[in-house]
């Protein structure tokens, strides 16, 4: 069975062991490190967070991203009303290329990654998850993130607490 989540981190140096990685630049064009994804069960770095595995696409084109992360030392339950409302707002809007929440355990919201290309880039500034924690608008090179089918809705729950939303089905029939 394929993994339903992968690991993602924004790091200073390109990791040798990542499944995919590409340079990242800020809105001002300044280098901002590398966005890396690891397709494996074991956590590769302390800073890595779980993402919906479907985001990984080594053929994915260059993209703009909104990367939302909690400030150091801040933790928020995934079931917090603010996180619920952000998920609803994502479903209500026209879809962008991809979205995933970030997880480090079964209980806490650790941020989000939203991917946009073309006309959708301007809408990254209205990322609903950026109402919860600060967002960085970045440009990531090709070969890391793809384009997903939009979440079917209206489900806002995770399919198992370890699964990053919007991963949309149980791993086994239940």
């Amino acid at each position: 069975m394929s993994l339903s989540w992968h690991w993602l981190a924004l790091v200073d140096e390109r990791p040798d062991d990542a499944t995919a990685a590409a340079p990242v630049h800020g809105a001002d064009g300044a280098p901002a490190g590398f966005l890396a994804i690891w397709a494996r069960r074991a956590k590769p770095l302390p800073a890595a967070r779980r993402i919906d595995a479907r985001l990984l696409d080594r053929e994915g084109a260059e993209a703009c991203i909104s990367l939302v992360r909690p400030p150091p030392g801040v933790r928020l339950l995934f079931d917090d009303l603010a996180v619920q409302h952000a998920r609803r707002a994502v479903l209500a809007a026209l879809p962008l290329d991809a979205v995933t929440t970030l997880l480090s355990d079964a209980s806490h919201f650790e941020g989000s990654l939203t991917v946009a290309r073309g006309d959708g880039v301007a809408r990254l500034a209205d990322d609903p998850f950026a109402r919860i924690f600060p967002a960085r608008l970045l440009r990531v090179g090709a070969g890391v993130v793809g384009r997903l089918a939009a979440p079917a809705g209206p489900v806002i729950e995770r399919y198992g607490s370890a699964q990053p939303w919007p991963q949309d089905r149980f791993a086994v029939a239940r």
Binding site: A92, A149, G153
Partner: protein, 184 residues
């Protein structure tokens, strides 16, 4: 003829309200689902019924159950209608009336719009129809209570852990840490 109880609902492939091609089986993705056909944005009966479904989505969104709506409206019209309703589920668009013909749901009494016959189907994850409702007359449509009963019946049938897994008395450890987030 539209599928009836016990029959297979076709795995339609249509564009969604954002213009992306979607298959019904991928939208259902293992969950009990309400599939609804409606005449179009302009029909007061559809507006009234969809507002009821919008109320129900607050339960559907936490219950691993889904809604899919289908009409002949094109994506741009459908997206505007969906946004106005506040719906957060996927709407499918059949402006060429291909799926309408496949389902046998052309409303022959409306020769202007040639819309879908309003209908509601509650589906098992494998797209087998649990119940079919003919909504040509408004009162033929299911109430929210009936939809809840259908979702309960399907969920009970397809979730092996419908009866909550609990420890037997001999293995209960009162000091054990509860594993968070596994409640369905």
């Amino acid at each position: 003829m539209a599928p009836s109880s016990g029959e297979a609902f076709p795995d339609l492939v249509l564009r969604d309200h954002a213009g992306s091609e979607r298959s019904l089986s991928d939208l259902v993705a293992g969950d009990p689902t309400v599939v609804q056909t409606y005449r179009g944005w302009w029909c007061p009966k559809e507006q009234a019924f969809l507002r009821k479904l919008v109320v129900l989505q607050d339960e559907m969104e936490v219950a691993y159950t889904r809604i899919v709506s289908i009409s002949i409206d094109p994506p741009a019209v459908t997206a505007a209608f969906r946004a106005g309703l506040g719906a957060r589920w996927t709407f499918l668009c059949d402006p060429d009336r291909v799926a309408q013909q496949q389902l046998g749901l052309l409303e022959t009494t409306d020769t202007v719009y040639r819309p879908y016959v309003p209908a509601v189907f509650t589906l098992f994850p494998d797209l087998t129809v649990h119940r079919a409702y003919d909504g040509y007359w408004f009162w033929g449509r299911p109430t929210l209570a009936e939809l809840r009963q259908d979702m309960r019946a399907i969920t009970r049938a397809v979730r092996p852990d419908w009866a909550a897994p609990t420890p037997s008395p001999s293995v209960v450890d009162p000091g054990a840490e509860r594993h968070e987030g596994e409640t369905p």
